[in-house]
Every structure is written in C-alpha cells, then in structure tokens.
Amino acid sequence: MRNVLVICRKELNSYFASPIAYGLMAFFAAIAGYFFYVATAIFVARGMESMMMGRSFPMDVNEWVVRPVLMNVSVIGLFLIPMITMRLFAEEKRSGTIELLATSPVRDIEIILGKWLAAVVLYACILAISALDIAVLFLYGEPDLKPILVGYLGLLLQGAALLAIGTFLSTTTRNQIIAGTATFAVCLLLWVFDWITAYETSTWAKVMSYMSVVTHFESFAKGVMDSKDAIYFITVAFFGLFLTARSLESLRWRA
C-alpha cells in the first residue's frame, strides 16, 4: 500500500509539473461553465414564462439544472480521459524509465494501482471545478444536496472505469498519441452505443445499449443510486486493471 501511494504521488507530481493538469482543468472549466450557463438560462427563462402566465407549478432546480449539467459533464469526461491516461505507461516505455519501476522491489499491481489512482485523483480534481458551478445554485436557491452527491459519485465511478481502460491501452504502446487515440475511440464507442436504442429494440441493441456508459450514468444523474449501474462501473474498472496487469506481464516476456 505504501508503494501504491509513493507511485501515486510521483504521478500526481508529474501531472502538475507539466501543463497537462492545468490545461485540462481550464478546458473543462470553460466547457462545463458554458453548459451550466445554458442550463440556468433555460431554467430562468422557463421560470419567468410560467410566472407571467400565472401558473405557479414549482420548478425543480435539480431536475432543470443539475441533471443536464451532470449529463453534460459525463460526456465531457469521455474526452478528458484519454488525455489523462495516455502518458501513464506509454511515456515510461518510451523513455526507458519502465526499467527502473520494473527492477525496483514493487509489485506490478502496486505500480498499476498507483498510476490509476493518480489518474482518478486528477479526474476528481477536474470534476471539482464543475462542483463550483453547482455551488452557485446554493447561493440563490435550495437544490437538494443528496442527488447531487449521488451524481458526483456516478461521475467518479464512470471516470474510474474508463481510466482503467485508458491505463490498459497505455501499456500496449510506447506512443502516447496511439494510446490516447485508442482510448478516445473506446470512450466514444461506449458513449454512442446508447444511441442504437433510438431506432432498434431487438436484443442485440439492448445489449449494446447496456454496454454504454451513458445508460448507466443516467440514473446517477437523476440522483438514483442503482446497484446495477454501480456494479457495471466497478466491473469495467476491475476488468481494465486486470487487462493492464496481464499486459504488463506479457511485456516482460516479450520485452
């Protein structure tokens, strides 16, 4: 466990020593902020409308602002993940520092967990920026806190799962660009699989849709914690980390 933390700290240091972390944060702050603005603007406009028409049905901030923002953040996250994970192993392989890690008295699994954990922490830091947007809602209204927390838990689980896949793909090459592109392709597929249900209802379409991260994030965004969805993300994370371990081991045999 100590080794995991040592490696995790080293990875975080190199994220924050280079422009990657700051660049991703700035990029994310701008886009998440824009979506937040759009969601609140629609909410305010609708609110005015119904007031003028004399209707007084209560509008829910959680439903009108928080949920669409979380859904958007979930999709933006898909774009961030390749940029976070692509360097994890590819860079070590290219620069030869993998020899240092592999000949130090640490287990492969400790290296993998350390790196993955660092990626998750960075991802969580980036998510925290969107939490600032949501926090503004508390200044002017009374949103329900619990569904927001569930939503963020969902975002974190989704991130952890996809980051594990990205970590795996990073071990397969020494070229960061290839690792990043492959991860992006997988993230994109896991997103668009959901669209299939729009025009197909047969079993295979349902299976495809089940594999999509979006399907599983939806209930989290609503503030509903469904164990089925949590298990999906945890399974994907385990699967990704398992593949990483296998891939790292095979690297030694092939080297």
Binding site: S14, G96, A102, P105
Partner: protein, 329 residues
C-alpha cells in the same frame, strides 16, 4: 553472489542468450565483455528480474530470479544503458522517489540521499531538472539511483558509454570505490576498460559464452606474444619501408613485422614478438643504429575482434582487419 546456470533467452525470432553459465563471487568487480548485440543487456535484464529467462536459472544473493523476484530486486541496483530519469523531476525529487520505491523512508532515506549525492558528486545539481542535465551528470544520477538502497549487487550496463575521457575516468574511479561492499557486474565493449576496472572478466559473443577468467590470466593468455607498434622517422631523406622492415625483422626475438602506414615521412610498423621475449630495447637500438629516429614504441592494444579470433581459434577466419576499437593504450 551470483550463479547463472544454463541461461537461455529466446525472442520471437532470435536467440539472444544461448545456454550461458557463470558465477560471481562476493565483492568482485566483473567485466561483462562483448560486442554490441552479444546478449550483455539481455543477461543483465534477466539478473535484474526485468525479464524472465526462457530456460535455465539465475540466482542473485541466494534468491532465484523467478521464485523470489522481490527479494532479488531489493538486493540489486541496476543502471540501464540509458539512465532511467524522469525529465520533469528535480534531482532531489528523483532520488527521494527512487529511495522510497526501494523501501527507504524517514531519516534513513534522507541520510542515504545525502550519502549517494556526495559519493556520485551530484550535490551541486540537487535542484536542477533531470531533463536539463548534461550526459555526465545524467550518468552519475543514474549511478546514485542504483546504489541508493545499498544493494549487495550492482549491475551496470555500459556505465561509461557516451562520456568524455575525463568523465570516463571519474566514473571508473567511482565504480572502483564501490567495490568491496558491493559485488559489481559492468558490461562494456571496450577491452581497456575491463583491464583497468575489473578483476574478473566474462566474455560473450553472439549469445554464447567465450571465456570466463581473471583479467590477469586472460591478458596473459592473450599476450603470450606481444604486439608492438613501432614508428620510425628518417633523419634525412626518405625511408624505404622494405629496408626498415628487413632491419626490424632481423632483431632477435621478432617473429613478424608488418608495415601499417606512412604519414609525414614516418613509417608505422606492427611487430609481433615470439612468446615470452622482451625485444623493446633491441628494437630501439636497431632503429637508432641504422641512422633513423625512433618516434614511437608501445604495446598495441588488442581489439575485441582480435581477442574473439584468438579465443575462438577453432573457426580460423584469416585476413580479418582488426577494427580500431581498442585503440592504442
């Protein structure tokens, strides 16, 4: 300290190391000599548990590299050919990280960091970024990294490659200073390096073991017949290479004289002596008495290729030009 038995490493298409066995005693400096692509790095990677062998066993400090890799890794310090440095880290940060993954912490880590910095002469670059260091400093930081956990065994892959002569000298001194508390294996393709730093030598070529011996024995074996480089300059007028050649060959104890090249009127010869004969004095006198100037007279270092030719005398491929890798000593 190190026992290797029947070690074989096959890649998809090639056999990098073919059935090698050797052992290294505690506290020795052993030179691992071979041309590029001989399998030196592969063998070292097996010993450091970077990759498993295809066949055979290797034990380091009493632990098998396949059975107890963690125990082996705790006792081995490894400097790969390219020092494994993170360019975005400062030297202190790097040593701190390496110390920690090698199991040091707290006051001991601090103490070891200071010690190795002192020893490898990198105290003046502590807060510099690794990516900005010169080649010599990178090598020294790499060495500091390898010894930070005070390993029993030190494995250095071409530790002097790419350094300038002054740095090479410093590195050799440093390595010599480390012997005693550490058992050291260093790989190189330069013969004089082995002669100057190592006690024992393991020679491999094309994945096969050619010889293991002490450096003394080996040089003796190889230098039974001494090869001398002689340069003769004219006093006045020009020199006739045939005439000089004849005169040199006439010296008692000389078995072979070969004309190498003429430059600025001076002529260079390679003279081989009969085994066990010292002819330098006679050679010098012969040159001077013939009315010429003796410009240079020294033992010619044997190149690696020549050594392989001698050691693997079985396949007698004559007429091979010795490449100038060993250089003049």
């Amino acid at each position: 300290m190190i026992q290797v038995e029947g070690l074989t490493k096959r890649y998809a298409r090639t056999v990098a190391v073919d059935n090698i066995s050797f052992s290294v005693e505690k506290g020795k400096i052993v030179g691992f000599l071979g041309p590029n692509g001989a399998g030196k790095t592969t063998t070292m990677r097996v010993l450091t548990c970077f990759m498993p062998p295809t066949e055979g066993t290797a034990r380091v400090a009493g632990f098998d590299v396949m059975q107890d890799p963690l125990e082996v890794k705790k006792r081995v310090g490894y400097l790969p050919e390219n020092p494994p440095l993170y360019p975005e880290m400062e030297v202190v940060e790097y040593l701190d990280f390496v110390g920690r993954i090698k199991g040091l912490q707290g006051a001991e880590l601090k103490r070891r960091m200071d010690e190795v910095s002192e020893r490898c002469a990198i105290t003046d670059v502590q807060t510099k970024l690794l990516g900005k260091l010169s080649r010599g400093y990178r090598q020294r930081v790499g060495l500091a990294q390898a010894i930070i956990h005070n390993p029993d065994v030190l494995i250095l892959d071409e530790p002097t490659a790419g350094l300038d002569p002054k740095q090479i000298n410093e590195t050799r001194k440093l390595i010599k200073g480390l012997a005693g508390d550490h058992t050291i294996i260093l790989s190189t393709h330069i013969l004089p390096e082995v002669e100057q730093t190592c006690q024992d030598v393991i020679i491999i070529n094309k994945g096969r073991l050619v010889a293991t011996d002490s450096v003394e024995n080996l040089t003796h074996r190889l230098r039974g017949a001494e090869v001398l480089a002689v340069e003769v300059a004219p006093r006045d007028g020009a020199l006739d290479s045939d005439e000089v050649s004849r005169r040199l060959a006439g010296v008692d104890g000389v078995s072979r004289v070969e004309f190498r090249e003429g430059r600025d009127g001076r002529l260079r010869f390679e003279v081989e002596t009969a085994p066990g004969r010292s002819v330098r004095g006679d050679l010098a006198r012969a040159v001077v008495e013939s009315g010429w100037d003796l410009h240079e007279l020294h033992a010619a270092a044997m190149s690696l290729e020549e050594i392989f030719l001698q050691l693997t005398a079985a396949e007698n491929e004559a007429g091979e030009e010795p490449a100038g890798e060993g250089g003049a000593a």
